[in-house]
């Protein structure tokens, strides 16, 4: 008797939920976006979402593509690959041509795999995966896919940028990275480019730490101090980076911190004034770049975001993504994943700062300029209201980081 009742309740619940998943008319070009939007890493997805929304509004005001507007559809993946795959299913159910994801190479790997399988099994309902920040080099090398386009430099390229930005006086460096796929690849790549580009630099320490488990980094700072290092190179993100730099600054260690992610949302607040002139970050953009190169339009674009959200604008890379989408959709002449992907291959555009960029055909890796910023006082635009901002100290042009790749791309139809 009872079973009948709970079944009724169950089917009612399912009905109620799934009613929301039905697709509407395809008047817009939908881009599914999946990143953590709740839980401990919510600030990552939150900051990205704000900036993307701002950029999409701008692109749409410039006419969108093929007369259609872009629309962002966020899905919370709670940092879990399985939830990202559910989001992928949702996106293909609604025939969305794009899914975008920024944070976490593990999720990116799962998505590439999922997108490959979906496109192979459902040729009439294909989807393109736009990678806006998962940087494990494997994704465009061993695991490269025709359906995956990476719009951020991979860890190897960032490592090269970092090594190129090391000043001549620095001869002793210390490496600390998180003990998982991404951290290990940063460790490998940084070492690799140090030997290649700066044979004079000596690695006095090289360490892996468990991801997100360490609450006090002072012992590491002690160890680094004892090793006599002048610079600390790290790919850490989140608390692992914040606490590391904070501990170093508190101990008054005479170190420079070369990071991948200190400029991301939350980093500047956590580091604070103590990091003045000590913390450097490899970044795709800082608001201080535009005044430095005298690009008024780019400066105004960033100011518009600041005025709207009371927050810094750092994701110029996202604007490049949507400009590529706009160009590729227009070139393809239809919202068809295969055609768009083909159009996007080898596409070359000038980004909004006026630099050359291209979507490399061999491995679908974007080649774009990159900056190294120093966190210091007296910049025109400060970060997160700390009074300190990211001053561009080095600009690495696209042609300088056109690293080789080992991708063997399989294109549809040409097996």
């Amino acid at each position: 008797m009872l079973q009948g009742k709970w079944l009724a309740v169950f089917s009612g619940l399912v009905l109620a939920i799934a009613g929301c998943g039905q697709a509407s008319a395809q008047a817009t070009i939908k881009v599914a976006y999946t990143d953590p939007l709740s839980g401990p890493f919510a600030q990552v997805g939150d900051a990205n979402l704000k900036q993307m929304q701002y950029i999409i509004d701008y692109i749409n005001s410039k006419g969108g593509a093929l007369g259609k507007k872009f629309e962002l559809v966020p899905f919370d993946n709670k940092s879990q690959p399985s939830d990202a795959l559910i989001a992928l299913k949702s996106a293909t159910d609604q025939n969305m041509p794009f899914i975008m994801q920024c944070s976490g190479s593990n999720i990116a790997a799962a998505l590439i795999d999922g997108v490959n399988k979906n496109n192979e099994r459902n040729p009439d309902n294909r989807i393109i995966y736009l990678n806006c920040g998962a940087v494990a080099p494997e994704l465009t090398n061993e695991q490269c896919s025709f359906w995956h386009f990476r719009f951020d430099l991979h860890a190897g390229m960032k490592a090269e940028v970092m090594v190129r930005a090391l000043p001549k006086e620095t001869t002793k460096v210390y490496l600390i990275n998180q003990d998982y796929l991404f951290g290990q690849s940063v460790q490998r790549e940084v070492r690799n480019y140090l030997t290649k580009l700066r044979p004079d630099v000596q690695v006095v320490g090289d360490e892996l730490i468990p991801l997100g488990k360490i609450k006090d980094f002072s012992p590491y700072i002690t160890k680094i101090k004892a090793s006599g290092a002048q610079a600390l190179l790290t790919g850490n993100w989140g608390p692992d980076m914040n606490l590391l730099i904070k501990a170093g600054v508190d101990a008054g260690a005479d170190l420079h911190y070369y990071t991948f992610y200190a400029h991301l949302a939350g980093g500047p607040t956590a580091i604070g004034a103590g990091g003045d002139n000590r913390v450097l970050s490899v970044m795709s953009y800082s608001e201080n770049v535009a005044p430095a190169i005298g690009n008024k339009e780019a400066e105004a674009f960033g100011e518009g975001f600041r005025a709207k959200h009371k927050f810094d604008f750092s994701a110029a890379g996202f604007r490049t993504i949507f400009e590529y989408l706009q160009a590729a959709v227009n070139k393809a002449g239809s919202v068809d994943a295969t055609k768009i992907a083909t159009a996007m291959e080898g596409l070359e555009l000038k980004d909004f700062l006026g630099y050359d960029t291209k979507m490399r055909k061999d491995d679908h890796q974007i080649i774009t300029e990159y900056f190294v910023g120093t966190f210091k006082k007296g910049t025109k635009y400060d970060a997160e209201g700390t009074g300190l901002g990211w001053a561009p100290t080095a600009t690495i042009l696209a042609k300088d980081i056109d690293q080789p790749n080992t991708c063997k791309m399989k294109r549809p139809g040409a097996s």
Partner: protein
């Protein structure tokens, strides 16, 4: 030698911070049997309260007010929530605090935003106290040591010298007996829960600017506190103290010794190559697993000595 001295100091500071968090939980867990998942949330609340208060009237009032606020929150939770749930058993209480932890996390995100807040060390204490072989020892860390030492003393005196403390001690080890002797055990429960939460709040006040005040801080601090409490043993504040210091020192010194099991085996004339079974496990160095040692120790001690280090009864 220099590394040793600095590491010792850092280990002490971290251990004392752990103790501040864990002491409240020990009281709550041993007396009420509640696995309080919201304890680390109280730590986070303390930090956020202190941040807000310090932007208006400064750090020093916040040092007093924020823990008091946390204590009030704790008392409210106990009187209006836990007491009602108590009769439904320990798992119900645990889930209640779990739900509460989710609620507090989301509430903090809604009130203070998703990003870290700039909660800083007060200027008065923002200077290097002394230098050990070129590494500064910030005055704030000494201050943390001082506060936690004072707190340890206060709890100890309170528990051994005051009447209510003696009743609490009695209720710690023999709750039924204390109740049978006519003490108002529910009121003691409220008091202990409020005090425990206030202690966590105090830890938040002084730990929030030593670490980073952000919505994820409760989530990352949660498990280690349980480890300390259970390792130290239920019903023993001294055990909790020793466990905290031990955990602080172990995690600090694990970073310093760069050895792996393979190195150890090499001492006995056994070389590990990539072909050796479990080579991956044997080649892991101590610093890589340093942060995991507490959990390993927890498992080991519970398997062999379920009452923990100095516990008065089985966990």
């Amino acid at each position: 030698m220099e590394v040793f001295v600095v590491s010792l100091l850092n280990g002490l500071v971290y251990g004392m911070l752990l103790f501040m968090l864990a002491s409240g939980l020990t009281l709550i867990l041993s007396m009420m049997g509640v696995l309080n998942f919201a304890h680390a949330s109280a730590y986070m609340l303390g930090a956020y309260f202190a941040y807000t208060i310090s932007t208006y009237i400064g750090f020093w009032p916040a040092l007093i007010l924020a823990p008091l606020l946390c204590g009030l929150v704790g008392a409210a939770i106990e009187m209006f929530g836990l007491r009602r749930v108590h009769r439904n058993g320990h798992i119900a209480e645990l889930l209640f605090t779990f739900g509460l932890a989710l609620l507090i996390e989301k509430g903090v995100q809604m009130t203070w935003g998703l990003l870290p807040v700039p909660y800083r060390v007060p200027e008065l204490l923002d200077f290097p106290l002394f230098s050990v072989y070129g590494t500064h020892f910030p005055a704030y860390r000494a201050f943390m040591l001082l506060i936690s030492a004072l707190m340890f003393g206060a709890i100890w005196l309170g528990l051994t010298r005051t009447r209510i403390g003696l009743v609490i001690q009695a209720a710690l080890t023999h709750p039924d007996m204390a109740s049978a002797l006519g003490h108002n055990v529910p009121r003691i429960f409220t008091l202990v829960f409020a005090a425990g939460t206030a202690l966590a709040g105090l830890a938040g006040v002084i730990g929030g600017n030593y670490q980073v005040t952000e919505p994820a801080m409760a989530f990352t601090m949660g498990p280690i506190v349980f480890v300390v409490v259970v390792f130290g043993g239920l019903g023993s504040l001294t055990g909790c103290f020793i466990a905290s210091i031990l955990m602080g020192l172990i995690q600090t010194f694990a970073v310093v010794f760069d050895v792996s099991l393979a190195d150890l085996l090499a001492k006995f004339g056994f070389t590990v190559t990539s072909g050796t079974p479990f080579a991956e496990v044997l080649n892991v160095t101590l610093p890589r697993v340093g942060a995991l040692l507490p959990f390993l120790m927890l498992v080991l001690i519970l398997v062999f000595r379920p009452r923990g280090l100095m516990g008065t009864r089985d966990t």
